[in-house]
Symmetry: C2
Subunit: 311 residues, 2 copies
């Protein structure tokens, strides 16, 4: 993946994805002890940056339909991007996924195929569906066109903060967004450096960066930041992160909830816990100089918003 692929993605996304605003508040600056700028990607179509990578992958292909495994933001991004381009989307979800996520994915126009976590192999199911129905697979992060699409977030940041020096904190799961942003900054705003931010206990990227070898999470559930919990960094993304990113940062669930509350009160945006970890790092971890934050998603259900308000 290189900057030309990200620029090509930006051209494809032009007029289709939203150019999300950068928000700030003197109240947040005071808490952080530094100026904090928040790229509100929760305001993207479907409520997360995932729409960008999906749109780019679909635009670059002439396949009539696409298949993805996801119960969350990637599902919705693929579903809407496919519908907007008149293509078919098939989303494979566990049959015990929350009904609201299944309903939302269907409402964006996708066909949802449910599978039994205990009895079925979801990757085999995806391969079968792809082969039988001529669908193209769109992985959630480890794919050049997906990384390039997410990288357009970094290109917009670079345009807005071209001459700034400092860190860009990015909520990080498999590393698709973080690696794309890092590549865009390298080319278009070399004074800025991406820093992955993860939830405590699910810091495979931070540990992989510090050890120099791919690390895995010991568990995959139990975090409220479910949107950014993945087993291990991608094969494409990790080398990019190693080459370009500063050390990973880690925040607690409690910090993510407090960041959600402050985003509601001071920025008037809804973040989901996984989309709030970068803001939490800017507000509650030590650090110097102006900082940019990519607030990656806002698909929090009412119960989680209520929980943040009480935090």
């Amino acid at each position: 993946v290189n900057i030309d692929m990200i620029r090509a993605a930006a051209a494809r996304l032009n007029g289709q994805a939203r150019r999300t605003p950068v928000l700030s508040s003197p109240f947040l600056d005071e808490i952080a002890g530094r100026r904090v700028f928040v790229k509100a990607e929760c305001l993207q179509h479907t409520g997360s940056f995932k729409f960008r990578g999906a749109w780019n992958a679909i635009s670059a292909s002439d396949a009539p339909g696409f298949v993805a495994v996801s119960s969350g933001n990637h599902a919705q991004g693929v579903a809407l991007a496919a519908r907007m381009q008149g293509r078919q989307a098939v989303i494979i979800m566990p049959q015990d996924a929350p009904q609201v996520k299944i309903d939302n994915t269907r409402a964006y126009g996708a066909e949802v195929v449910l599978y039994d976590r205990d009895a079925q192999d979801r990757d085999a199911l995806m391969n079968d569906l792809a082969a039988q129905r001529g669908l193209e697979k769109i992985p959630p992060f480890d794919h050049p066109l997906v990384i390039a699409g997410q990288g357009t977030v970094g290109l917009e940041v670079a345009q807005d903060f071209k001459d700034m020096r400092g860190d860009v904190y990015v909520c990080c799961g498999g590393g698709g967004l973080t690696s794309g942003v890092a590549l865009a900054l390298e080319a278009a705003a070399p004074g800025l450096r991406a820093r992955p931010v993860e939830p405590e206990g699910f810091d495979d990227v931070a540990r992989s960066l510090s050890s120099g070898t791919r690390q895995r999470n010991t568990r995959l559930s139990g975090s409220i930041c479910d949107a950014i919990v993945t087993p291990t960094p991608g094969e494409l993304t990790l080398p990019i992160l190693q080459r370009l990113c500063g050390p990973g940062l880690v925040v607690s669930d409690a910090m993510a909830l407090r960041a959600m509350r402050l985003a509601l009160e001071r920025l008037r945006i809804v973040l989901e816990p996984g989309g709030a970890v970068a803001l939490a790092a800017a507000l509650f971890l030590p650090g110097e100089g102006d900082v940019l934050v990519v607030a990656s998603g806002g698909n929090a259900d009412p119960a989680m918003i209520a929980r943040a308000l009480a935090a």
Copy 2:
């Protein structure tokens, strides 16, 4: 007030106010039975459009300081705009105003002067302060520079939806925002027509428009939409509304709360009840054709957000 004054305001606000994004969701379109576009002015500095009028009035003056009466969004808009321009702001607030509003106004750099609602006349107090300290008064809506500043919202809408025909629903108190938007649309997007939206029981503008004479509200408290409750339309604003707006629309508090909840879930923005009435009208009142909504403010406290989530 005319379009040239609004264009001059836009030039003054350029690079200082945020150009707020227009959001939408297929879920909202389905509820409304029409396409709904939401100008998210809750993402403006200080959380409401009020920053625009304040910035414009302050920029156009060379006074060293300004005085305003407000316990809400106007107070914060004047405070921050003054501080950003290195001027002084004195805000007169009732001594029983919620502490958080007093604290926020002070945090934006203003001097807060408290008065006793029962024993003191706030307008006399403002006039005394203005005379003694050489401060210029900034009224909340009935002032040409304030109306022109708020009108820049309409200019941005006109640029984004130049060729559209239909209604622009605007949350309406004294009519500063609605009249400014109406003037901008008349000149720059004549296919669009402003429609004031008010809370049930506080529909002085709707009744003034339908009767042709200035009407008053019988009470001034008891609505959760406190940000847009005013005694009667302005002397400057009402003639503009009469000349340019379609009939006023009225929604219940329950509708405003449901619109708040849908804005949280589907647009990932926080609206206050008074800033949600225009969206409520688009979603829950009968109407035809694509509709634009100005979501005017997002300064809801956590208890009100929690109430909306339970609606």
